[in-house]
Amino acid sequence: MTIPADLKYTKEHEWVRIDGDTATFGITDHAQEALGDIVFVELPEIGRTLEAGEAYAVVESVKAVSDVYAPVAGDVVEVNEALEGEPELVNTDPYGAGWIARVTIGEGAAELMSDDEYTTFLEE
């Protein structure tokens, strides 16, 4: 199980990469493994304004479905359209090609953890 050091994490097993005033969202390796083979990702509309902690996407496996929550507030500027044809990217590369959405950062954030804190959280 990988937990990259340059990302922040939520208790709902999302990750966020903050890069200046933009943030990229995805779900963690742990989350994709728990869900199993991802068969569909419902992406948010571009331009949608998200509150921190708001459900913005839905990730589905054959027999499970999970809402995905925004780690920080922001306006959606880009979504990973590759997931429409290849949702399995979330399984194979959750921190890279399996990213879900990109936002320009707004006001507010969920409770975020460092990689070490997330590792500890998973162990608990």
Binding site: V39, F40, E42, E60, S61, V62, K63, A64, V65
Partner: protein, 448 residues
Amino acid sequence: MRFLPHTDSDRRAMLDTIGVSGIGDLFADIPSEFHIEKGSLAIADALPEAGIVRKFTRAAEQNRNATNTRYFLGGGTYHHFVPAVVDYVISRGEFLTAYTPYQPEISQGTLQALFEFQTMIARLTGMDVSNASMYEAATATAEAALMARRVTRKSRVVMAGSVNPRYRAVTANYLSRLDGEYTQVDMGAFGTDLDRVIAAIDAQTACVIVQYPDFYGSVYDLAELRAACDAAKCLMVVAFSDISAFALIESPGAMGADIAVGSGQSLGIPMGFGGPHLGLFTCKQKYVRQLPGRVCGMTTDVNGKRGFVLTLSTREQHIRREKATSNICSNQGLMCTAAATYMTLMGDAGLATVARHSAAALHSLVSRLPAHVTAATGARYNETVLSFVDHAARQRFLAAASADDIFAGIPLEQIEAGVEARHLLVATTEMVEESDISDYLAALEVSL
């Protein structure tokens, strides 16, 4: 009791294995105050098989039926021909007594039949995809409204007043406990006035529901409605009562429907006093993840052989619970197999003949009506409204027809409350012969 295999000694031995002294001990967890005395319920005494047959036969004989009379009744249920093979196939225990195909390895028969059903229904309606059925047409219409609300994230539903009143009533009922507006557009005559429907569309509208052919049998062009729906970014939902029409006239898909729903009862399913029938639900490919109900999809097994499974299950109640696209679980699976068998026996040519004969019978009838009876104008498939000068004239006719074993039509007010009691909703199928029409016309004459 003939359905229970155990002998008393079996029961004794099984109780011994369990380690209790009597059957009663197995119910000890039910508080004693709720135990009822055996044989105390007010239910008829047990009947042997012969007694059941006799009782049902006597009851059946109190009903007049379509096999030895002439039916001109429609309104959503039609007396089409049912080939013997259809009933044979759905009587086979492997189809009849199987559960929902949750274990695909031992359910490929049901699943392939569903896949063929979905394909043929999509082709006949001109739509991209079909699900594996809803209960019947009225609930399918309600589910279409709910799906349109999910797809558009808008909540207002516009319903043409020329949709079958029962579909309208069930849809309005389903929507009445949810947020959002429901608007019914009243029609001036026995047909569909698209200008009135289009005028009712606004920016909050999730969908417009029309019926084609409509409740009164009217066939009309939906192009203007399609354009209006595009302009308002709402969905066009097309309902239908007798799917046999689409072997003869342009399909809902060709007319631009986003969702098409209706009854498949005409496809080899007897009228059965109203059920079980078959609810059909079709839509454009891009909306599949918002479909209600089960769907069957194609895949491969571990050896790479083609097979079929129930798929897109995350939409359904057993996984998504309160966020499911519908609460439906049991569907009309066996009726899908019946419809698939029927369509296989018919093919394009047979279906076209059914439709042509159904329409030709109506044309023959309305083109020879006496002057004191008028038929609704415009293009009609196999159903129309006949109007009499007054209630008494219609009742005289119904009595005369009935005496000649003709069920001449449904008094319109029986389905559509509030209309004058002098109209008849009349339907024809390929089961109507030229001589039946002559007798019908003769009854009209004598009842003048």
